[in-house]
C-alpha cells in the first residue's frame, strides 16, 4: 500500500468512530424528527405512520376554527419570542457580569487563577435541578430574599420574585454564567501582557487599553461565550419549568408538553426543528457579521 493510501486509511480509522456516532445519534434522529413532523398525529401518542400532513407547521402560526377555517394564533409565537428574549437577556447579563469576572481572574497570579477557575466550575458539581430548587427557596414569597427585605423594612408586602420571567432570567443567568466566563477568561489569558504595556507606553490609559487592545483581542472568547450561553438558554427546560411555574413557558417546555401531556408528536417535532433553525440562523448571522474580526484574532 502506498504511503498516501496508508495515511487515508489511518485517518478514516481515527475519525470513523466519531463520524459513526454523529450519524447514528444525530443525523438519523434528526431525519426521524423531520419525518415525524410531517406525519398525522395519533391521539393516543405517536403518529399515524405514512399519513403525510403539514398540520404541525400550520399549527405554529394558525388555529383551526370549528368550521375548519384558519385563524392566526399568536400563542406559540409568543412563547418562542419569549424564549428568544429571555435567552438574549440572559446572554447580555452574563456578558456584563462575566466579562469583568474573567478580567479579574485573568490578571491574578498563576496560583490564584487555578483556584478561581475551579470556583467558577464548582456549580457543575451539583445537579442543575437541585440548583434551580435552591433558587425557589431564595425567591419565593416567604423565601430568603423577601424575608430579609421585610425584616429590614424595605418592603411591606413580599415582592413577586418567583414564577415569572424575572425568575426564569435569574435562573438562566445563574445556570449559564460559567459558560460565558470560561471562554472569555481563556482568550484573555492568552493575551500577551507586553501588548498591554505597549498600549500604556503609547499614552493609552487603562480604559482606552481595555477598549482598544484587550476587548478586540478577547473578541473570539466573547463570541464563544455568547453562543455558549444563548444557544442552551434558548432550549432550556428545567429552569423555566421550575422557576417559571408553568406560566412562563419557553420553547423547551412547549416541546416537552407535546411529547407528554398533549400527545402531539408531529407538533413537538416541528417545534424542535423550528428551534434548531432558530439557533442555526442566529449562529449564521453572528458568523457573517463578525467574520472579519474572528479571522484576524
Amino acid at each position: 500500500m502506498t504511503r498516501a493510501g496508508k495515511n487515508t486509511l489511518f485517518r478514516t480509522l481515527l475519525i470513523g468512530p466519531a463520524l459513526l456516532a454523529i450519524l447514528v445519534f444525530m443525523v438519523v434522529p434528526l431525519l426521524l424528527m423531520a419525518y415525524i413532523s410531517l406525519q398525522t398525529r395519533d391521539y393516543s401518542g405517536g403518529v399515524v405512520w405514512g399519513q403525510f400532513s403539514f398540520e404541525a407547521y400550520i399549527r405554529l402560526f394558525f388555529e383551526r376554527e370549528l368550521d375548519d377555517s384558519l385563524a392566526l394564533n399568536f400563542n406559540y409565537m409568543l412563547i418562542i419570542l419569549r424564549s428568544v428574549w429571555l435567552s438574549f437577556i440572559t446572554m447580555v447579563i452574563s456578558l456584563i457580569v462575566g466579562l469583568p469576572t474573567a478580567m479579574f481572574m485573568a490578571t491574578r497570579d498563576r496560583k490564584w487563577k487555578a483556584v478561581l477557575v475551579f470556583m467558577v466550575t464548582l456549580p457543575f458539581w451539583t445537579n442543575l435541578l437541585v440548583r434551580n430548587y435552591a433558587w425557589i427557596l431564595l425567591l419565593r414569597d416567604h423565601g430568603t430574599i423577601n424575608s430579609l427585605l421585610l425584616w429590614l423594612g424595605v418592603i411591606q408586602e413580599p415582592l413577586p420574585l418567583l414564577h415569572n420571567s424575572f425568575a426564569v432570567a435569574v435562573g438562566l443567568t445563574y445556570s449559564f454564567l460559567p459558560f460565558m466566563v470560561l471562554p472569555i477568561y481563556s482568550s484573555l489569558e492568552k493575551i500577551d501582557l507586553r501588548l498591554v504595556e505597549a498600549s500604556f507606553d503609547l499614552y493609552a490609559n487603562r480604559w482606552q487599553t481595555i477598549r482598544r487592545i484587550i476587548l478586540p483581542l478577547a473578541f473570539p472568547g466573547i463570541v464563544a461565550g455568547c453562543i455558549l450561553v444563548f444557544v442552551p438558554a434558548l432550549g432550556a427546560y428545567i429552569t423555566p419549568e421550575l422557576l417559571g411555574g408553568g406560566k412562563t413557558l419557553m420553547i423547551g417546555n412547549l416541546i416537552g408538553l407535546q411529547f407528554g401531556a398533549a400527545r402531539n408528536w408531529p407538533f413537538g417535532a416541528a417545534l424542535g426543528l423550528f428551534l434548531l433553525s432558530l439557533v442555526l440562523i442566529s449562529l449564521g448571522a453572528y458568523a457573517r457579521r463578525y467574520r472579519s474580526n474572528l479571522e484576524s484574532a
Binding site: L195, E197, A198, D201, L202, A204, S296
Partner: protein, 350 residues
C-alpha cells in the same frame, strides 16, 4: 536609583544604587550580559516598574510618580509587541490617537513615519503578514510617531539575522541623527554598542561599571569585567614599581599612561588589546616570548606566545605586513606596547 524584586531573604537586587546622566540627543547604550539589570533600568525609565528607591528625572522633572501613559517616553519592545488586530498604519497612529491629536495631523505624521521606515506601500497590511525586519521597522515607527523626548529600545535587533541586523544598526543611527531624539538602547551585543553609541554604560550584577564613549570603553577599560566583555584582551598580573611602571615577574616591565595612584609594591592588573602589541624579531624587543601558535584569520593573524612566567598572550597582526607571515611556532620573539595602550584596571586584582 535602586530596584529590589521581592522581599526578605528572597529579595533580588536587580539594580544596586545606579545613577546615570543621559544627555539630550544622545545615543546612549546600556551594555551587559543578560540579568545585569539593563532591562530593569529601561523599564524604570518607561514606568513599567517602580523604583524601590531613587527617582527618574527628565528635564529636571520627576517622572517617578507618573504612569507610563503620562511619560513622554516611548519604547521599542524586544519582540516588538505590535498590536496583531491592527494594520501597520493603525499601529503607527495609535499613540497619536491616544494623545488626542487632530485627525489630519495623525494622518500626515503616520504617512511621514511610513516613509521614514520605508513601508509606504504596506500601510494597510496586517502585522501577521509582514516579515520580522518589517515588524521591527513598524515597532520603531510606532514608537517614534508621538515624537517622544526619549526613545527606549530593548534589544530591538536581537530577533533579526546578522545581515538584517547590520542594516538596521545603520538605519537606527540614521534615524537618531535625523530625528534628534535621545535614544536609550539596551543590548548585550558589544559590536552593536560600539558601532551605534555616543556613549556606553557597561553593566554587570545590577551595577554600572563604566560609562564612556565607545573608544574609552574599548581602549581604556577600568574593570576586569569591562575589559573581558568587550573584545579580546590580554590580562597581566604585575607589581607597581613606581610612577607608571609595572613589573611582570621574570619577564620585564611595562609602562602605562594610566594614573592608577597605586603605591609601590601594590599588585596591579594590566589590560592590553591584542592588536596593540607589536611583535618584533627576538633581537629588537626588550620583552621576550616564545610563539606557541599562529592562527590565520583572513584579514589578520593571531600570534599566541608564552611569557617566561607561563602566561599566554595573544597579538593580532594585520596581514598587510610581511612580518605576520614570518613567525612560526617555537620562534623566540620580542614584543612591545605603547604606554598609551596599557590600561590599569581599578577593581581588585586577582
Amino acid at each position: 536609583m535602586s530596584k529590589v524584586f521581592g522581599a526578605g531573604a528572597n529579595a533580588f537586587r536587580a539594580l544596586d544604587d545606579v545613577s546615570v546622566d543621559i544627555k539630550k540627543n544622545e545615543f546612549f547604550t546600556l551594555l551587559g550580559p543578560s540579568g545585569c539589570g539593563k532591562t530593569t533600568l529601561l523599564r524604570l525609565i518607561a514606568g513599567f516598574e517602580q523604583p524601590s528607591s531613587g527617582e527618574v528625572l527628565l528635564d529636571g522633572q520627576d517622572l517617578s510618580a507618573k504612569p507610563p501613559y503620562q511619560r513622554p517616553v516611548n519604547t521599542v519592545f524586544q519582540n516588538y509587541a505590535l498590536f496583531p488586530h491592527m494594520t501597520i498604519s493603525e499601529n503607527i497612529s495609535f499613540g497619536l490617537e491616544m494623545l488626542g491629536r487632530p485627525k489630519d495631523e495623525i494622518k500626515s505624521v503616520t504617512a511621514e513615519m511610513l516613509r521614514l521606515v520605508r513601508l509606504e506601500k504596506m500601510a494597510d497590511r496586517r502585522i501577521t503578514q509582514i516579515s520580522g525586519g518589517q515588524q521591527q521597522r513598524v515597532a520603531l515607527a510606532r514608537a517614534l510617531a508621538p515624537q517622544p523626548k526619549v526613545l527606549l529600545l530593548d534589544e530591538p535587533l536581537s530577533a533579526l539575522d546578522l545581515q538584517l541586523r547590520k542594516e538596521m544598526q545603520l538605519e537606527l543611527k540614521r534615524l537618531q541623527t535625523d530625528t534628534g531624539i535621545t535614544f536609550v538602547f539596551v543590548t548585550h551585543d558589544q559590536d552593536e554598542a560600539l558601532t551605534m553609541s555616543d556613549r556606553i554604560a557597561v553593566m554587570n550584577g545590577g551595577e554600572i561599571l563604566q560609562i564612556g564613549s565607545p573608544r574609552d570603553i574599548y581602549d581604556k577599560p577600568q574593570h576586569r569585567f569591562v575589559a573581558g566583555f568587550i573584545g579580546e584582551i590580554n590580562l597581566l598580573s604585575t607589581e607597581a614599581t613606581g610612577e607608571g611602571e609595572y613589573a611582570i615577574a621574570g619577564v620585564g616591565a611595562l609602562r602605562s599612561e594610566d594614573k592608577s595612584g597605586l603605591a609601590k609594591g601594590a599588585a596591579a592588573m594590566l589590560a592590553i588589546r591584542p592588536e596593540r602589541i607589536n611583535v618584533l624579531p627576538a633581537a629588537s624587543g626588550v620583552l621576550k616570548g616564545v610563539v606557541s601558535n599562529v592562527v590565520y584569520h583572513g584579514t589578520d593573524t593571531i600570534v599566541h606566545f608564552k611569557l617566561a612566567d607561563g602566561l599566554e598572550m595573544r597579538a593580532r597582526l594585520q596581514n598587510n605586513t610581511a612580518e605576520a607571515r614570518s613567525f612560526a611556532k617555537g620562534d623566540e620573539i620580542g614584543w612591545s606596547v605603547e604606554p598609551s595602550s596599557v590600561s590599569v584596571l581599578v577593581d581588585a586584582p586577582s
